[in-house]
């Protein structure tokens, strides 16, 4: 997994509540059996005027010029500002894969849907929860200044604005540790294989019908 330590990049504002995973990456692109290549179809139905197809070359497709990521000032954006309940809907990990493949490293919102939030950490993408007021401030500053950049310092758990203002955020110690070091969850869990086996043996004794039934 990609490490996340410190990142500075242009902020892009998605000024809309309840952005769902169907919006982030529509279903026709979930047919891929790979983890990469979803970036060109990120927000496909908002970003293009036509209906996108899997494996299609997106160069030359008609763009929705009003969509925020199509505006010249947000080209190269890597920090996404969003509203409440970002990532609601399905469990598709294709959503963080698409954001990551597009170039986003962090998403800042007042709240996230749980499965999406969880999926981000497995992919080196940092979701940050700030208060409504703090998010509102960042939206206002982004709108006011072209090329507005935010720095995200995971070690110190702060978002730093261009004026030097530091906004602290909360994050789980375990998730922070994994992101900072790019650690693979499975490897960490397998360090406890003895605990798992011990539990499993107990389970086999108490609920034997859950073993060797499905084959």
């Amino acid at each position: 997994m990609n490490k996340f330590t410190l990142h500075t990049g242009i902020a892009a504002p998605m000024d809309r509540a309840n952005i769902d995973t169907d919006m982030i990456i529509p279903k026709q692109f979930l047919k891929s059996i790979k983890r990469s290549g979803f970036g060109k179809n990120l927000f496909d139905e908002l970003r293009y005027l036509d209906e996108g197809q899997p494996d299609q070359d997106c160069v030359g497709r008609p763009l929705n010029q009003e969509f925020v990521l199509n505006q010249a000032r947000y080209q190269g954006a890597s920090v996404l500002l969003a509203r409440e309940n970002f990532g609601c809907g399905s469990s598709r990990e294709h959503a963080p894969w698409a954001l990551d493949d597009y170039g986003f490293r962090s998403v800042i919102a007042p709240s996230f849907a749980e499965i999406f939030y969880n999926n981000c950490f497995k992919n080196g993408l940092l979701p940050i929860v700030l208060s409504d007021e703090q998010v509102e401030q960042l939206f206002a500053e982004t709108a006011a200044t072209e090329g507005y950049e935010l720095s995200v310092d995971l070690q110190r758990q702060v978002v730093v604005t261009p004026s030097g203002q530091e906004i602290a955020f909360e994050i789980d110690d375990f998730r922070k540790h994994c992101l900072l070091n790019g650690l693979d969850d499975i490897g960490l869990t397998l360090q406890h294989a003895d605990d798992i086996r011990a539990y499993e043996e107990k389970r086999r004794q108490s609920s034997p019908w859950l073993f060797d039934a499905i084959k």
Binding site: D20, E93, N118, H177, D185, I186, D195, A213
Partner: protein
């Protein structure tokens, strides 16, 4: 000390260890796999040179991509080449690792959340995961079921465990008795309307009270299925005799002496009477009428006798923007009567509403009637091969086709339109599925979520109508 909730009991009985940072490792008894969210997980195992921890904890079936039209030609005849590869990849992965899979034309194939309970593959007291957010459905069995992402699918395959944090407990209690024509779907849509699409975030929601105690297992599954549309990863119903009766004789349920031991265990899978919930929501059944969503989030829902909201009545700007955007996308006007919404298609199916009772509900309404002229297509897609056979034995397929509805093969179908079943741009659909997101059922498609009875009523009238107006007198309790 206060008693425990069902969620607390299920969580604690599966706890392998608590890490220093407060995260927990819980043991997963069952993983259900389908073709969309598993290929990258299997690939991850192969790249790392890992093997599944326990083969017999897994069961698989393709559902999202499969065609629902005649498909005796098998996987090779799936027209969409990308869908074909995905279904084939599931077959190959299951064959390679020795995982039991009900393949596309197996009689037991079906939508994962229909197949798993009807096979008894997931049982009360289990923990279960699936790379699909509607795994919440299985909480209706008294199981702790989580929808997970693909990395977690791989994690559970490799370790049989999930890294998680204990959720908070919410009780949604619905008191009283549902009126005639008011179904489990209406209950859950109403609940989402009350608590909002993020109201359950961070919670395991237990559905309690007289309404759920009286509800069938299939109805409970419909309700838990949509817990995620209220933001909750987990929905639950305490075990009772209805739960236990449901499992007797199912293929993977325990038999003989083991059955008796299991039943004794399962009877304890209830929230204690003195359990404390972090949040309690109380709703009166009498306040629930048949529901229809008008917007692009499941919380945008009203009773059928009501009208589309007017943003002028709101004060919060984010909410006003949301309503305006939804009205524009849906092609509706503020204050428009719900019964004035004209429809183009009808979809009866999905992991929410494709079980036998759903099909019976819909058949009762369309029997002796005809699909309205303005309806381009009305699809009935059973949730599994077993549901399909049972419906045919009961003659439901004949009732549907005589009325002008199409009777299909099992799969997810138009719920998310990954297969050829989809809405055209701008078309309105009365759908028994679970999400009315923009583009969900097809590019530019406009979804209205309703119960099977309401969808059937819409099919024969061409617009929304209070299904209670069509219910025959002999069906009234």
């Amino acid at each position: 000390m206060a008693g425990q909730t069902l969620y607390d009991k299920l969580f604690e009985s599966h706890l392998v260890r608590t890490n220093e940072d407060g995260s927990s490792l819980i043991y997963i008894d069952r993983q259900v796999l389908h073709e969309v969210t598993s290929p990258q997980a299997f690939e991850g195992l192969r790249i790392a040179g890992r093997k599944p921890w326990r083969i017999d904890a897994n069961i698989a079936t393709p559902d999202h991509n499969v065609p629902t039209t005649e498909r005796s030609g098998g996987v090779d005849q799936i027209v969409d080449p990308v869908s074909k590869i995905q279904v084939k990849t599931l077959d190959e992965n299951c064959d390679e690792f020795g995982i039991l899979e009900f393949k596309m034309n197996d009689h037991n194939q079906g939508i994962v959340h229909v197949m798993a309970p009807e096979q008894g593959a997931v049982l009360p007291g289990c923990t279960a995961v699936c790379g699909d957010s509607h795994t919440a459905t299985l909480g209706a069995l008294g199981a702790l079921a989580h929808g997970v992402g693909t990395s977690e699918v791989e994690h559970v395959l490799a370790t049989q465990c999930l890294i998680t944090k204990k959720m908070k407990n919410m009780l949604v209690r619905v008191d009283g008795e549902l009126g005639v024509g008011v179904t489990p779907k209406d209950v859950v849509l109403h609940v989402i309307g009350v608590i909002g699409t993020a109201g359950g975030t961070g919670y395991a929601i237990e559905f309690g009270g007289e309404v759920f105690r009286a509800m069938s297992m299939e109805g409970r599954m419909t309700v838990c299925n949509m817990a995620i549309e209220a933001g909750a990863r987990v929905g639950l119903v305490s075990v009772d005799q209805i739960t236990i009766d449901y499992f007797e004789g199912r293929p993977f349920a325990p038999k003989g002496e083991q059955w008796d031991t299991a039943v004794a265990q399962w009877q304890g899978l209830v929230s204690d009477t003195d359990a404390e919930f972090d949040e309690v929501v109380v709703i009166q059944a009498a306040d629930i009428e048949p529901q229809v969503t008008w917007g692009t989030s499941p919380e945008m829902v009203v009773g059928v006798s009501s009208q589309v909201p007017n943003p002028a009545n709101e004060t919060d700007q984010v909410k006003i923007d949301g309503i305006n955007r939804a009205l524009q996308y849906m092609g509706l006007n503020a204050d428009q009567k719900i019964t004035d919404i004209k429809l183009d298609r009808v979809f009866i199916g999905s992991c929410t509403n494709s079980r036998i009772e759903d099909l019976r509900d819909a058949a009762k309404i369309v029997e002796g009637r005809q699909v309205a002229d303005n309806i381009i297509q009305a699809l009935v897609v059973p949730g599994s091969g077993l549901v399909k056979t049972q419906a045919e034995e009961e003659g439901l397929d004949k009732i549907f086709t005589a009325a002008g509805l199409e009777w299909r093969e099992p799969g997810c179908s138009m719920c998310l339109a990954m297969n050829p079943d989809k809405l055209g741009n701008g078309e309105h659909c009365a759908s028994t599925s679970n999400r009315n997101f923009e583009g969900r059922q097809g590019f530019g498609g406009r979804t209205h979520l309703v119960s099977p009875a309401m969808a059937a009523a819409a099919a024969v009238t061409g617009h929304f109508i209070d299904v209670r107006e069509l219910i025959k007198p002999e069906l009234v309790k």
